[in-house]
Symmetry: C2
Subunit: 191 residues, 2 copies
DNA sequence: ACGATAAGATACGCAAGCGCATCCAAGACT
DNA sequence: AGTCTTGGATGCGCTTGCGTATCTTATCGT
């Protein structure tokens, strides 16, 4: 068993360390030195892979979000599916607040990019699970798909995202069911 | 007329400059030097008022949000009132995204404070306009106040805030009316 | 065993940012 | 005019972070 990390193993360790730095200290205090130290390596190792801090941040976000292999729930009802997906997001994507911190903290001004670029990373190569859930609900006759606006469809997750951003933490299950039962479902039934 | 700024006038100029720095370069790149330079002064002037960068940031946010003297609309209907207030927030509070950037970028880790602290600044000494609007609607018989959850009442502004954060810009009037007409009002009428 | 590659370590020099000390000068008040 | 307060300017020294060069060493493949 080798002691010195190499190739993809080393790269993953570097990105994990970078992520922890982002989470624990925020984008404002994110430095190459801190990442290197946390990863148990030295800065030239980072520079051999990423030309600068911004690229390392971008790669870190892609790395963390890219490993997020979500199971698309199938509970037999739209309510169940949406709640299950929200629980999953809640448990795994509270880290989205860390991503948002990069979104907001000056990254765009510093790099000359835009919010759409970060959204592209998040969305890359991924089927939107919501589309699947709604198609199923339509097949079951629960909803008329064409009658639901995009805004209604994304509403539970917009509100969940909002909670993450405002509180920097996952929400309680009561909040999830409140969103679904008192906001989302009444709107679905209304249309 | 004196040429050298003094007292409250100077302090306002300093805080305005600090705000512009936050807006244009983000919290991650916010420095005392840049603020002093933008304000046409020198760093000791800043340090005479605020012990460090974090305190300057906190004071800047309080300054910007504290000058926000909102008129509480009275259009004769809840829809009208909510839309008017949202338009006002949309026109003046897109800058909330800049505030949020501080919220997220590591300020709390750096200062040992919490999201509740920032919310206290925002809310300080201010009557919540929403309470006024809803009380009026109840007086008019439009709604049963006790039947509306806090979440329904704050929903338009939660969604507006979400839009600000996601897009870093004000929204179109179409988005405002969509939120009110297809999300908020159906929920109000449902209860 | 040997060679190639890449990881790890260290050092260098530069610039920025910071916190502070010191001095000068403008402005207000008596 | 004199005094006090505060604004403005400059300089100092320290630390941190960065980008890079150089050297050593571990590991892998042949």
């Amino acid at each position: 068993m080798s002691e010195r990390r190499r190739g993809a193993v080393l790269e993953a360790a570097l990105l994990d360390a970078a992520w922890e730095e982002l989470e624990q200290n925020g984008y404002a205090s994110f430095t190459m030195d801190a990442v290197a130290h946390r990863a148990g390596t030295s800065r030239p190792v980072l520079y051999r892979r990423w030309p600068d801090r911004h690229e390392l941040v971008r790669a870190t976000i892609a790395h963390v979000l890219g490993r997020d292999r979500r199971v698309i729930p199938d509970t037999g009802s739209l309510r169940g599916d949406i709640l299950a997906l929200m629980r999953e997001v809640n448990a795994t994507r509270a880290q989205l607040a860390t991503v948002m911190s990069v979104h907001l903290a000056g990254y765009y001004q510093e790099t000359g990019t835009s919010p759409a670029d970060l959204r592209r990373i998040v969305a890359a190569g991924r089927e939107n699970p919501l589309d699947v859930l709604f198609a199923r609900a339509a097949d079951r006759g629960e909803i008329r798909l064409e009658r639901l606006s995009d805004r209604v469809r994304s509403l539970p997750f917009d509100l969940l995202r909002h909670e993450f951003v405002m509180n920097l933490a996952p929400v309680t299950d009561e909040v999830l069911t409140e969103i679904v039962d008192t906001i989302f479902l009444p709107l679905v039934q209304h249309t």
